[in-house]
């Protein structure tokens, strides 16, 4: 596994795409233009990018309530994504899912999910399917530290291990279950401590460093593709915005100092320094990447805002497949 220029550029690009997508969505939500609630992924970009660079459309992921970043990193189209967040019929889910259920099954993105730890059992099903169909594909459930306290996570991890399924469990440990610090919701610091209990390897990566995540995920995904079973990969990371929206519910549950510490570890400037130091991109070229993505976002938002709202008569369509 060689860290080529192309991979570096890919990691950077996926992270910048997530960052700007989320920042713009957060603003639109705050200004009341976008309905519903958004759980923003800003700060955690290195995890989605570092994992997704290894995956094809035939590999599946399951996501969380904080799911936009995963879909962007899996190649999500900005137009269909913003349209979905706006509840338009041109959205990925025709406006029936919204932020918390956004999905693109064709690209192996089996949905954001409003239920904590609902993804891992579904990913186990996809991993089972990959093995049953004789493919080399892997399934990757993303979930947070809080999700590892749910029974469904435990059932999924055990099933994947006992059946040696091609599943890589990626824990985005951002230190909080909603507003509750990790120390108050579990008696362990490292989620990887749990791996031994399932008989699978547990490995850690710095979730604020895309290259570190890329390396660790690559190892785990290769094991899975080779039929050697699942891995629990813990990425310690941090969310810059609140649990919901950019500013949340105004609760003081973490300090500005803590946030500042993690801001210093921002994965995007970090990889940009690496790109410049290694003569991969110049500062101007990096700026051009940002500008290009921002232009694409502006166009996508316009597309979403000009898209039709769903016809109320379609409310009961798609409950059942009717042929």
């Amino acid at each position: 596994m060689e860290l080529t220029k192309d991979i570096l550029l890919d990691l950077h690009r996926r992270m910048v795409r997530i960052r700007h997508f989320e920042d713009e969505a957060g603003k639109l939500s705050e200004s009341g233009q976008m309905p519903g609630a958004l759980h923003l992924y800003v700060g955690e970009e290195a995890v989605a990018a570092g994992v997704m660079v290894h995956l094809s459309d035939e590999d599946q992921i399951t996501s969380t309530h904080r799911g936009h970043g995963h879909l962007v990193a899996k190649g999500g189209d900005f137009k269909q994504m913003y349209a979905e967040l706006y509840g338009r019929s041109t959205g990925y889910n025709k406006g029936k899912g919204g932020s918390m259920h956004i999905a693109n099954v064709d690209a192996g993105m089996l949905g954001a999910n409003g239920i904590v730890a609902a993804g891992p059992p579904i990913a186990v099903g996809a991993g089972f399917s990959n093995k049953y169909r004789g493919t080399k594909n892997v399934a990757v459930p993303f979930f947070g530290d809080g999700a590892t306290n749910e029974g469904s996570f435990h059932e999924a991890a055990n099933m994947a291990a006992v059946w040696k399924l091609p599943v890589v469990f990626v824990c985005e440990n951002n230190g909080y279950g909603e507003f509750t610090p990790q120390a108050e919701h579990q008696a362990i610091k490292d989620i990887t401590d749990r791996a031994a209990g399932y008989g699978m390897p547990g490995i850690q990566a710095d979730g604020m460093d895309a290259i570190a995540v890329w390396e660790a995920a690559g190892e785990a995904i290769e094991r899975a593709r080779n039929g050697e079973g699942p891995t629990l990969l813990e990425c310690k990371t941090y969310r810059y915005y609140d649990h919901v929206g950019r500013s949340g519910i105004g609760l003081e549950y973490r300090s500005d100092e803590e946030l500042d510490e993690y801001r210093k570890e921002d994965p995007i400037p970090k990889i940009e320094k690496h790109l410049i130091d290694n003569n991969v991109l110049t500062a101007d070229e990096i700026q051009a990447v940002h500008d290009g993505i921002l232009a694409e976002i502006a166009e996508a938002i316009k597309f979403a805002e000009n898209s039709p709202l769903p016809d109320p008569s379609t409310v009961t369509e798609d409950v059942y497949y009717t042929g």
């Binding site: 599946q60 399951t62 959205g91 990925y92 889910n93 025709k94 406006g95 029936k96 899912g97 259920h101 999905a103 099954v105 064709d106 089996l110 949905g111 999910n113 409003g114 239920i115 609902a118 891992p120 059992p121 579904i122 990913a123 186990v124 099903g125 996809a126 991993g127 089972f128 399917s129 990959n130 049953y132 169909r133 399934a139 029974g151 469904s152 059932e155 999924a156 055990n158 099933m159 006992v162 369509e317 798609d318 409950v319 059942y320 497949y321 042929g323």
Partner: protein, 334 residues
């Protein structure tokens, strides 16, 4: 099901009709597999899958950990990625262990995704009381499932229908629950040898009659048929309707009957309060109010957990005599 069944028609007990339905489903689709707790080597605690492990191997008849949430998740993930899972939840009482995966994932995924996926998942589970298994292994929880848009729910009463329901469920592109009945495993009936599907959402008129309609769910169909014989002696000509599928419900067949007989009673083994009988009674009254000569009656279990001790359980469960008495009450006899 016709009365003209020939003597050569093959008879099979309910238990073996289940086995045959699953066997033929596994033969029909290479993408189908059966997973559940002890479904493989043991052929299930009820022995309903006996022989399938040897026939299809551990890759397709899969003993799982005791993990109901994991099992339904397995169905969702495998169903969304090209397979046709058959998931066994040993006792229907255990759906409490996996209700999120049922209600929020299995049922809703297609809708939430804007119709961009199908989930051809069959869930096989054993319901009902009558064999002294007490409060956590005897319940009839079909109303929980019928309330959730996205699921189909079947309660086959006969060997013919349980086989046809399993095959129909496996062929369907939607999640379908087939709630089998543990007290009916020994019931024998005509079961064609070839694969066939019953029609999901189509009720069956089990007995034609002119002056009273009994809508009887699951095993209660057999009790209603016996009640009809009792009532015949009193000159009451009962029509018995077996909905077979509760979601979607064949309201039209029920209404057609009520418009003819002008009286109806709905019977199920589940607790009466909030049971599916309440929905059926409401639909009859909404759609056929002017045709009714009496309020629509309901018979179900009392508002209590299922008791263990045999006399308590017998007191708890509806039966033919209670049904006959209920009909007479509604007519104003005795």
């Amino acid at each position: 099901m016709t009365a003209e069944a020939t003597t050569e028609a093959r008879q099979l007990p309910y238990i073996l009709a289940i086995t045959e339905g699953v066997r033929q489903s596994l033969q029909e689709y290479d993408t189908s597999f059966l997973a559940g707790e002890d479904v493989g080597l043991a052929g299930s605690v009820f022995r309903i899958y006996k022989g399938l492990y040897a026939e299809f191997g551990p890759e397709r008849v899969i003993d799982s950990p005791i993990s109901e949430a994991g099992l339904i998740g397995l169905g969702v993930g495998a169903g969304a990625t090209g397979l046709r899972p058959m998931i066994d939840i040993m006792f229907s009482d255990f759906i409490g262990e996996c209700m999120d995966e049922i209600a929020n994932q299995l049922a809703k995924t297609r809708y939430m995704f804007g119709g961009k996926t199908t989930l051809p998942v069959t869930v096989l589970t054993m319901g009902g009381g009558g064999i002294n298994l007490a409060a956590q292994h005897s319940q009839s929880l079909e109303a929980w499932l019928c309330h959730i848009p996205g699921l189909k729910v079947m309660m086959p009463a006969t060997p013919h229908d349980v086989k046809g329901a399993i095959i129909a469920a496996n062929r369907d592109e939607n999640p379908v629950f087939v709630i089998m009945n543990k007290a009916s495993l020994g019931i024998t009936g005509e079961v064609p040898e070839e694969p066939y599907a019953v029609n999901i959402g189509e009720a069956i008129v089990r007995r034609e009659g002119s002056n009273f309609t009994i809508v009887a769910i699951g095993r209660m169909m057999h009790e209603a048929m016996t009640a009809a014989e009792i009532l015949e002696k009193d000159g009451i000509d009962v029509e018995v309707i077996d909905p077979l599928t509760l979601q979607p419900l064949d309201t039209e067949t029920i209404l057609t009957s009520v418009r003819k007989t002008h009286r109806a009673l709905v019977v199920h083994e589940a607790v009466r309060f909030g049971g599916i009988g309440a929905e059926i009674a409401a639909q009859i009254q909404e759609n056929a109010f002017d045709d009714l000569d009496a309020p629509v009656g309901r018979i179900g279990a009392p508002f209590s957990p299922v008791p263990f001790s045999p006399p308590l359980e017998q007191a708890y469960l509806p039966n033919a005599q209670k049904i006959a008495d209920g009909v007479k009450d509604l007519i104003g006899l005795d």
